[in-house]
């Protein structure tokens, strides 16, 4: 971004003296010319300072700048013709010391010392026509090549580096273009953006981004764990009934889907010496997936924070923002009309908010509002805790329940209850706004979000607690597969509910809104609720990837289907009425994906690997006292081999030491 700011300096601040120009080892001629330019500029600026008064300075300077820019083409033509006809000097015509020519010369002078990549960037950033940019580029290249004849700068090494960097740039460009061309759903997203604007588009972009994570995890798992396991597969003796798709049990239990099926042996093929240690492969593949997700999340977060930093200034309900930030991406006529209507409503609301700012509430009113808020918070938190307790007791009771009912569908009770909670309680939270009144509608959105997040995170938390403390220690045979099955059931039930909601529920809501109770109107697309559902599902996938390596594949299918389902059901919605701060909310959602979601997953897996005892007769880690012992024993075997001592050293000094993690945390 540095060069962008640099080029901004050229445009906006006319009177600044450019740094670094004089340090360039140019010929004496151009140094003299530079000095002349600078002195002339300072003379001009001092003149302009003298002749203006106080607050007029700002507008006068800007007016001069505006007229300079508008007449720049003529000045550039002048300076170019001067340069071309007198190749030795930069062609300052001392008789017309106008701002335009000087600015043109300054621009060319500033571009010459730049590296070629920065130069192209700076030229690209100029707000001029293509023809002018082309001329500018030609002049600068000419000047640069002339100067390089005088300076023996380009020795072999620099030329090599230059050509390498150019080749790299070209390959980088073609690679990114290739990736763009095979990018999924480009046309569909464009249509959605045209009809609904950038806010709804951000939900679909988020979905596509999550899909990439899952595709990557699936490819890793498939290549490193599943394919080797296929070569060692034992025959599946169980019967296949149709229930397996919902329950994940039965026939699927003895397939590559679950942890329990994987062998703990070292696979060797025939007489070849190459062996494949399944234990290490399993733990390293899963760690590699999660580490890649970690860094990818981190970089995305950093990028979003950098571009859309959370500035308190943005939270003000400015009218200027509404006026100047019209969404140019909308290309459908109806959508434009709707947007105009919504904008009108929002402007009026903002105006009335601003007027109401001066209204002071009486003590009685303030107390009433305060108690309403408190009551709402108590009810929502209590509701979330009650739901968690219900889930916990149901989970504990589940084993007895299963013993009593032999029906294959009976295992689905817990997932069914959890999905019902996820469906009903957020809508119940939305009803609170009938009781609570917020001065700023924006605050209402954030409070609703926080309540929903708290609900979902506590449900996942309580389930993890149940799985790690009860199921893992219950002494059941193959508890890891049991956990994998439960996660699969939760995910699938959630998917079925979302699908039903998108295709049926929203359709019904539209019919009700249009025909039966017309005062309700058509609903708006609730981005926050939908994104939270995505985050919830992705958290489950990340937790379950250790127990059920095929889960990313299932999530891939889910996300793919949800994209099309949501796309179809968009016809039941109208675009959001408030100017949705899509960029800020995306930053917030990615942060949510990282902070409670991914770090929670890491904690859960860390507890599993370090503290839990693997089951005795199934899975790649059978018989070990802890999962982590596979790594310990591997390091021990490596110690005996002298050629791999560097791995042992890395392990002892980096991973084994506390300092490394401290430094890593600091860097993060």
């Amino acid at each position: 971004m540095l060069s962008d700011d640099y080029s901004n300096e050229i445009i906006i601040e006319v009177e600044d003296i450019l740094p670094g120009v004089q340090s360039h080892p140019s010929s004496n001629q151009s140094v003299r010319e530079m000095a002349q330019v600078n002195s002339r500029v300072s003379m001009v600026s001092s003149l302009s300072d003298v002749e203006v008064v106080d607050y007029q300075t700002f507008s006068n300077r800007n007016e001069k700048r505006r007229s300079q820019l508008l007449q720049f083409s003529t000045s550039l033509n002048n300076s170019m013709s001067q340069t071309l006809c007198s190749p030795e000097c930069l062609g300052i015509d001392t008789s017309h010391s106008s701002h335009e020519t000087i600015q043109g010369q300054k621009l060319i002078a500033s571009l010459i010392p730049m590296a070629s990549r920065d130069r192209i960037k700076a030229i690209r950033n100029q707000p001029r026509s293509m023809e002018e940019k082309r001329k500018l580029r030609k002049i600068v290249d000419k000047e640069k090549s002339k100067q390089s004849h005088h300076i023996f700068e380009f020795n072999c090494c620099a030329q090599c580096l230059n050509s390498i960097s150019r080749a790299y740039q070209r390959s980088h460009n073609s690679l990114s273009e290739l990736l763009n061309s095979i990018s999924l759903w480009q046309k569909t997203l464009k249509v959605i953006g045209g009809k609904f604007g950038t806010s709804v588009l951000s939900y679909f972009n988020f979905l596509r981004w999550l899909l990439k994570f899952n595709i990557f995890s699936f490819i890793m798992n498939f290549s490193f764990i599943i394919i080797p396991q296929f070569t060692m597969a034992e025959k599946n003796t169980l019967q296949f009934t149709g229930w397996e798709f919902l329950t994940g049990g039965g026939y699927f239990r003895d397939t590559v889907m679950y942890y329990g099926f994987y062998t703990n042996s070292t696979i060797q093929h025939g007489n070849s010496r190459a062996s494949y240690n399944m234990q290490l492969a399993y733990i390293f593949t899963i760690s590699a997936c999660l580490i890649t997700c970690f860094f990818s999340l981190l970089f995305s977060m950093a990028k979003y924070f950098r571009n859309n930093f959370i500035n308190p200034h943005i939270y003000s309900r400015g009218i200027a923002k509404l006026i100047f930030c019209w969404d140019f991406t909308v290309t459908h006529e109806n959508a434009v009309k709707l947007k105009q209507k919504n904008l009108s409503t929002e402007i009026r609301e903002n105006l009335s908010e601003i007027r109401q700012e001066n209204v002071r509430f009486t003590v009685h009113q303030q107390l009433t509002r305060f108690f309403a808020h408190m009551a709402a918070w108590v009810v929502s938190t209590g509701g979330a805790i009650a739901c968690c307790a219900a889930v916990y007791y149901l989970a504990e009771y589940n084993s007895e329940f299963l013993r009593m009912h032999r029906d294959p569908g009976a295992v689905l009770l817990l997932p069914f209850v959890v999905s019902c909670i996820n469906l009903v309680v957020p809508r119940f939270y939305s009803l609170f706004r009938l009781v609570e009144r917020y001065e700023m509608p924006r605050r209402e959105v954030y409070v609703l979000l926080i309540r929903n997040i708290f609900l979902k995170i506590s449900i996942i938390g309580i389930l993890c607690y149940y799985w790690l403390n009860i199921v893992a220690l219950s002494g059941e045979e193959c508890w890891e597969t049991l956990i994998g099955q439960e996660i699969y059931q939760l995910l699938l039930m959630d998917f079925v509910f979302s699908l039903a909601d998108s295709l049926l529920g929203e359709f019904l809501r539209r019919i009700i809104g249009m025909r039966l109770i017309t005062s309700l109107g058509i609903q708006e697309f609730d981005i926050a609720r939908n994104v939270l559902e995505l985050i919830y599902a992705q958290t489950l996938v990340w937790i379950g990837i250790f127990f059920c390596p095929l889960l990313p594949f299932i999530q891939m299918i889910t996300l793919f289907t949800m994209f099309y389902a949501k796309n179809i059901s968009l016809m039941n919605f109208q675009p959001p009425s408030k100017a949705w701060r899509a960029s800020q909310m995306m930053t917030f959602f990615i942060f949510l994906l990282f902070f409670p979601s991914f770090t929670g997953v890491l904690c859960t897996l860390a507890i599993t690997i370090w503290r839990l005892k693997p089951s005795d007769d199934c899975g790649p880690f059978r018989g070990l006292p802890f999962f982590i012992h596979s790594i310990y024993s591997w390091i021990d075997t490596l110690r005996t081999r002298p050629s791999y001592l560097w791995v042992v050293w890395i392990y002892q000094n980096l991973i084994g030491s506390v300092h490394f993690f401290f430094i890593l945390t600091l860097i993060v």
């Binding site: 607050y55 192209i120 950033n125 763009n180 950038t198 200027a320 434009v336 904008l343 899509a582």
Partner: protein, 185 residues
């Protein structure tokens, strides 16, 4: 459709356009296609100019409330050459830098082209954005005053470029909304 072929564009020209604009190779070729569909048969794309009406009727601009201003700002002598269309698409593309977008947004919103966004400009913007039957004179004046009180720093009742930039530069929503996809593919 004229006799202009798709690959009439030379490789060097394509490279140059890629260097001088923010568009990718595919986007430039798509715009080239769209341009050729509108140009009369038998002429090379470099010599043809399109009228402002033809550009305004492109699907990307057809319903935009500011399409006449966009066409005015990006055209030269009221016609569009191919390079003008490319410059326009480049400014409105996703990869364009914020300073460029702000600069052109200022030019678009400056209806009377005096180098400032004054009250008259603001009123015209508001009338374009809102349903014009619904906006009363009072609302217009009220809104104009609010905008000026928020953004006008030197109290001259107009917004200079620096003040506009200051108001918009910290708004990521502006960068995201000031985008148009011109290519149909």
């Amino acid at each position: 459709m004229g006799q202009c072929l798709r690959y009439q564009m030379h490789w060097e020209d394509l490279e140059e356009y890629q260097a001088l604009t923010f568009l990718t190779r595919n986007e430039i070729l798509c715009i080239h296609d769209t341009f050729l569909k509108l140009c009369p048969p038998g002429k090379c794309y470099k010599e043809v100019t399109l009228t402002m009406d033809q550009i305004s009727s492109l699907p990307a601009l057809r319903v935009n409330p500011f399409r006449d201003r966009i066409c005015k700002v990006f055209s030269h002598n009221n016609v569009f050459s191919f390079e003008d269309v490319l410059s326009m698409a480049s400014v409105f593309s996703e990869q364009a830098c914020p300073s460029l977008k702000i600069e052109y947004a200022f030019r678009i919103y400056d209806f009377n082209e005096n180098g400032f966004i004054d009250e008259e400009d603001l009123q015209r913007i508001i009338l374009r954005l809102l349903d014009s039957d619904d906006t009363s004179e009072d609302l217009l004046i009220d809104l104009t005053n609010h905008v000026l009180s928020e953004s006008d720093l030197d109290n001259d009742n107009m917004l200079s470029f620096a003040e506009f930039e200051h108001a918009m530069a910290k708004s990521p929503d502006f960068m995201n909304s000031f985008r148009i996809h011109f290519w149909g593919c």
